[in-house]
């Protein structure tokens, strides 16, 4: 069994109103010192019956095709066995 952890984040220049709102809410709750909040997606994909290399290349394909939109997002992932 292989678990891939995929992180999809908004590209640098893209406004993240959710992050801004959370930042504002944290300040309102009295949490000081927060200078930035960015919110992205965290996906855990479980694969069966594939090798680590195979999984790595497949997950990369998944990200390119479906999981991230290159116009607005970057992605990154890790693959773990076990």
């Amino acid at each position: 069994m292989i678990r891939a952890k995929v992180y999809v984040t908004l590209k640098g220049g893209v406004l993240d109103p959710q992050g801004e709102t959370v930042k504002g809410a944290l300040e309102m709750l009295g949490f000081g010192g927060v200078t930035d909040v960015r919110i992205g997606k965290f996906m855990v994909i479980t694969l069966n019956g594939v090798s680590r290399e195979e999984a790595t290349s497949r997950v990369d394909q998944m990200c390119k095709k479906l999981l991230a939109n290159p116009v607005i997002e970057d992605y990154r992932f890790e693959v773990e066995e076990g």
């Binding site: 220049g13 893209v14 109103p17 959710q18 479906l66 939109n69 116009v71 607005i72």
Partner: protein
């Protein structure tokens, strides 16, 4: 004219578009399930509003892989008209038929209300019946309507007169206050370079009958019809 209305799982404005095309405009319209692989000879395809695949992951992200999409691309390549309304616009962007992407509204809230949009180009089959700079009152209904593209694309869109609608005040001024969702450059609708594919966030089919409050949206449909009439004339 023959209209084809594409139905994705989770679409919900297909019957409304069908109603307007058939009962208000008196034209023929078919509903086309997304699992179809081929298209009949339609003059105009409509990708309606709704929540294809629940809007899960990203709006339009999964729908763009529907079997019907290849036929839609083909139709567009051959110069056929494609109108993406709201979710349909999102699908067309994901599919790369239109530039840019639609992000979550800056308010983080779903918004359903009439807004004012200005017609910034009448040089499309979808806006020819409008006058340049005309202000239309048409409802929006979305959670992800914030148009975004990179600076280069934006410059290109402007240079090529591809921004067709912008959110404005009732007097026709584009301002932050008149921008309901934080769209870049107040963009409410864009077309492709060939000008035969249009996507817009407002719902023209919701402004097509006096009984429901506005007929401003009919101008889009009327533009399409006169384009169709002209095309059939030249075709002979």
């Amino acid at each position: 004219m023959r209209f084809g209305i594409v139905v994705f799982p989770g679409s919900n404005c297909e019957l409304d578009c069908h109603w307007v095309v058939q009962n208000v405009l008196g034209q023929q319209a078919d509903l086309i399930w997304h699992k179809e692989n081929t298209l009949k000879d339609y003059d105009c395809l409509i990708l309606p509003g709704g929540f294809a695949h629940g809007d899960y992951l990203r709006t339009g992200a999964i729908a763009r892989f529907s079997p019907i999409m290849a036929a839609i691309e083909d139709h567009a390549r051959r110069g056929g008209l494609v109108l993406g309304i709201c979710n349909g616009f999102q699908v067309l962007c994901e599919a790369g038929l239109l530039p840019g992407a639609l992000l979550r509204n800056t308010s983080l809230n779903f918004i359903c209300r009439p807004v004012h949009v200005r017609v910034d180009s009448t040089a499309t089959p979808f806006s020819a019946a409008c006058t340049q700079g005309q202000v239309l009152c048409v409802p929006i209904n979305h959670n992800e309507g914030r148009y975004y593209c990179d600076a280069e694309t934006l410059a290109h869109l402007r240079d090529n007169d591809q921004v067709i609608f912008r959110y404005v005040s009732p007097e026709g001024k584009a301002s932050d206050a008149a921008n309901p969702n934080g769209s870049l450059d107040n963009i409410a609708g864009v077309c492709n370079e060939q000008r035969n594919v249009l996507g817009l966030m407002p719902h023209p089919e919701r402004a097509a009958e006096e009984l429901l409050g506005s007929t401003n949206g009919l101008l889009l449909f009327e533009s399409i019809l006169s384009y169709g009439r002209a095309a059939s004339l030249t075709r002979g």
